[in-house]
């Protein structure tokens, strides 16, 4: 089993009102979580990215935890206070250029002695583009062709130095990039930093099968996880890759308690904190696409239907057809007699694993044994202490059963993943 820790800095699952919630900006918070993950012998530490603050109804959204430092810079600093932990940065391939990003990633791999990873994401929205020269919009298909060519170009740059430390000129002339010259950084300890791909779409799966070392998914249920796992692993052969070459790691949440009952109570309490009355209305507005600020969060759902293609919410990924989501929420609300807030709590719950340490360890093991995942990216709901209990109470059980490592056997992230360094293609 492979384990990673997601820094729970910015999102609406972070419980900031809890008395134990500290800064999501101060370096001490990153240091605490990273050291905890390393103490638990985790494979890597994962940072997300934001390039524009969300908006709601034409104004900056003020309910979520927002504000974060820039990922690669934080990870370089964390390399100073950790020894073995992999360091993964989410960096957008739409609003960066291959030469500069390949250089920054190779530098992190050198400065961390082989622990760097890059989570490749793309963006299609002109809203984010307003902060960048690129400005405008890439349609969905172009996002992935650019990302694929971006990764390929970065690999050409990383391979432009021989393993013996000799620099050779490179030239790449493709549809999205025309770059040539000499790369300034020698081949890094891992050869290429580990590449992670996030995204469940067909294009995303194909891209990951061809180019990624890890795929970060959101499939929280065993059945959905098995379907996804089988599909993605089956795509590898056509790229000449083996199943072990791509690790499938869903992002999951967890809630612990001394007993399963206590864990369920804790989970309910956390959901209540996550979905404040204001957040419940916000979630409703995201589906309905209309200003519903006059509604009572403890009252019933709106009788009217959602507005399709609304731009009420900016900077947040929208999932699915609003009319279908609304119909599903109505059905849940009517069947159980739930208010707006209760309905949102019921339908948007994302707590994947709830129980005593023993129960959660068994659930995680069942997941990997059933072929639904190779491991997990854990998303705690508290900054920075949200991983403490897991490392202190769940990890030892996984170690006892031989499911998870008791000691690091190598020093690079690829060695943790059991993957060989990429072959140099000069």
């Amino acid at each position: 089993m492979h384990l990673a820790a997601h820094f729970p800095g910015v999102n609406n699952t972070t419980v900031w009102a809890d008395a134990r919630s500290e800064s999501q900006i101060d370096f001490s918070s990153f240091e605490h979580l990273a050291r905890t993950a390393e103490r638990g012998k985790f494979d890597f530490f994962f940072l997300a990215e934001g390039l524009r603050l969300r908006e709601h109804n034409g104004r900056i959204h003020d309910l979520d935890v927002v504000g974060r430092p820039e990922s690669l810079t934080v990870l370089n600093a964390l390399a100073a206070v950790t020894d073995r932990l992999g360091l993964a940065a989410t960096v957008n391939a739409t609003f960066n250029e291959p030469y500069e990003l390949a250089r920054r990633l190779a530098t992190l791999d050198h400065l961390s002695d082989g622990r760097a990873a890059w989570n490749v994401v793309t963006s299609s929205d002109a809203f984010t583009g307003e902060n960048f020269r690129r400005g405008g919009y890439l349609d969905r298909a172009d996002r992935y062709t650019r990302a694929a060519e971006f990764v390929a170009t970065a690999r050409e740059l990383w391979d432009s130095w021989t393993p013996d430390g000799e620099s050779r000129p490179f030239a790449h002339h493709g549809r999205h990039f025309a770059v040539s010259g000499e790369f300034t950084v020698p081949r890094s300890p891992q050869g290429h930093p580990v590449v992670i791909q996030a995204g469940d779409s067909d294009e995303g799966r194909e891209f990951a099968a061809g180019a990624a070392d890890i795929i970060f998914t959101r499939h929280g249920t065993l059945e959905a996880g098995r379907e996804f796992y089988a599909d993605v692993k089956a795509r590898l052969a056509k790229y000449g890759r083996r199943p072990a070459d791509l690790k499938i790691m869903p992002g999951v949440t967890f809630v612990l308690g001394d007993t399963d009952e206590e864990a369920q109570e804790n989970a309910a309490e956390i959901r209540h904190q996550q979905i404040s009355p204001q957040n419940a209305l916000l979630a409703l507005e995201q589906v309905w696409g209309r200003d519903l600020s006059g509604y009572d969060p403890d009252g019933p759902l709106p009788a009217s239907d959602p507005v399709p293609d609304s731009d009420l919410v900016q900077g947040r990924v929208r999932h699915g057809d609003p009319l279908a989501v609304a119909a599903r929420w109505r059905a849940v609300s009517e069947a159980k007699g739930l208010s707006i807030r209760q309905t949102v709590i019921e339908t948007t719950g994302r707590q994947s694993f709830i129980g005593s340490p023993r129960t959660v360890a068994a659930q995680l093991t069942a997941f990997t044994e059933a072929g639904a995942a190779d491991g997990f990216i854990l998303v705690p709901h508290l900054t920075p202490g949200g991983l403490d209990d897991f490392v202190d109470r769940v990890v030892p059980l996984l170690q006892e059963s031989g499911t998870f490592r008791s000691e690091y056997t190598g020093s690079t992230l690829r060695s943790h993943l059991g993957q060989a360094d990429p072959v140099w293609k000069g």
Partner: protein, 358 residues
């Protein structure tokens, strides 16, 4: 007469490229032992070497006080990314970050990106100035107390304390606000080499620290006076700028160093601002230039970092400290404090509170 102004010293820790943190960390710790204001690490896409901002981030948690100033080039990097990375260096170093703004002038660098052709230095420096401008606006775009965590209303931030910068430059635009909350120093320290004509205007408008390459105090004073005049014309208080003479130093022939107190002129060799001599000669030079009031201090680039920085700290700095010309400890924690610069208020906070008062 400005002879009583505190002396400021900084040193470059680059040289032949290294890709391990230990090399740079040892030099930064040495500089910190000498209570230098800051270390710089040069950078360019044009020659081998690691990303300088990354290196100084890597050594930030392993140092305590010394300021960390990477070169960041503005020609091919997105201004929004520049602003975020420098602000983050300030967060991870707990208020010790600066950046030395530079431009990329060559066609070879342009081809690495394939986005635009090489441009004249004047145009690139104008763009660098705009980048410094928008970076400062982005650093201001979160007021210091924007994070409110108000449980009663469920609001994590007060959106009235976050601001769009709506910057329209000649080659880019940025909507804002920043993603990174306002850094510990408010604005990390901006350093620009103001010697050349194209850089002088951006230095006057945006720099906190101006480097000047000159061979005599008179030459340095002439550049300083020009930058001060320009700064005043932009409504800045010239007293808010620090001027450091940039000097490449070769302390390799220490055995020829005269006894302390012996009158011995520094030997400038070859092109401007290259000094060759012993640590004591260097201390004499620094003392004389500082006493003349031409500059606030020196930015020293050791020609062989490991050897020369050791001689600077144990020889030159020790002598300056002995003469009470240079401090023996850091009285503050942030780079702005080392430099005697105040922490700026957010321009948006000032505008908002002025509006409330009206």
């Amino acid at each position: 007469m400005t002879a009583n102004r505190p002396l400021h010293l900084a040193a470059e820790i680059g040289g032949p490229p290294h890709y391990d943190a230990g090399h740079y960390l040892a030099l930064a710790r040495l500089a910190e032992r000498g209570t230098l204001d800051f270390v710089t690490l040069g950078d360019s896409f044009a020659r081998p070497g690691p990303d300088a901002l990354a290196v100084l981030s890597r050594i930030a948690p392993a140092t305590d006080r010394v300021g960390l100033v990477p070169t960041v080039t503005t020609t091919h990097t997105e201004p929004f990314h520049v602003s975020s990375a420098v602000a983050t260096l300030d967060w991870v170093s707990r208020g010790r970050a600066g950046w030395n703004a530079e431009v990329s002038t060559t066609e070879a660098e342009a081809r690495l990106f394939g986005r635009r052709s090489a441009a004249p230095a004047a145009a690139l420096w104008q763009e660098a100035g705009e980048t410094a401008d928008v970076a400062a606006r982005l650093w201001d775009s979160w007021e210091d107390d924007a994070e409110i965590r108000d449980t009663a209303t469920g609001r994590f931030i007060d959106r009235d304390r976050l601001h769009y910068v709506d910057f329209e430059g000649s080659t880019f635009s940025v909507r804002g606000p920043a993603i990174v909350p306002r850094p510990p120093q408010g604005r990390p320290v901006t350093v620009i080499d103001g010697t050349g004509t194209p850089a002088r205007e951006p230095a006057a408008r945006h720099a906190d620290v101006v480097h000047i390459r000159a061979t005599t105090p008179e030459q340095a004073a002439a550049v300083r006076d020009d930058v001060r005049r320009r700064a005043a014309a932009h409504g800045r208080d010239p007293a808010d700028l620090r001027f450091l003479a940039a000097l490449t130093v070769d302390l390799g022939d220490a055995e020829t160093t005269p006894e302390p107190g012996l009158e011995s002129g520094p030997r400038f060799a070859g092109r401007d601002s290259y000094f060759r001599g012993g640590p004591v000669d260097l201390a004499e030079l620094i003392t004389r230039w500082h006493r003349s009031g031409a500059v606030d201090g020196f930015h020293l680039t050791p020609i062989t970092p490991a050897r020369d920085l050791e001689r600077i700290v144990n020889g030159t700095v020790a002598l300056l400290q002995h003469r009470s010309l240079f401090r023996t400890f850091y009285p503050g924690g942030t780079l702005r404090e080392h430099l005697g610069l105040t922490r700026p208020a957010s321009r948006y906070a000032l505008a908002r509170t002025a509006g409330e008062g009206a």
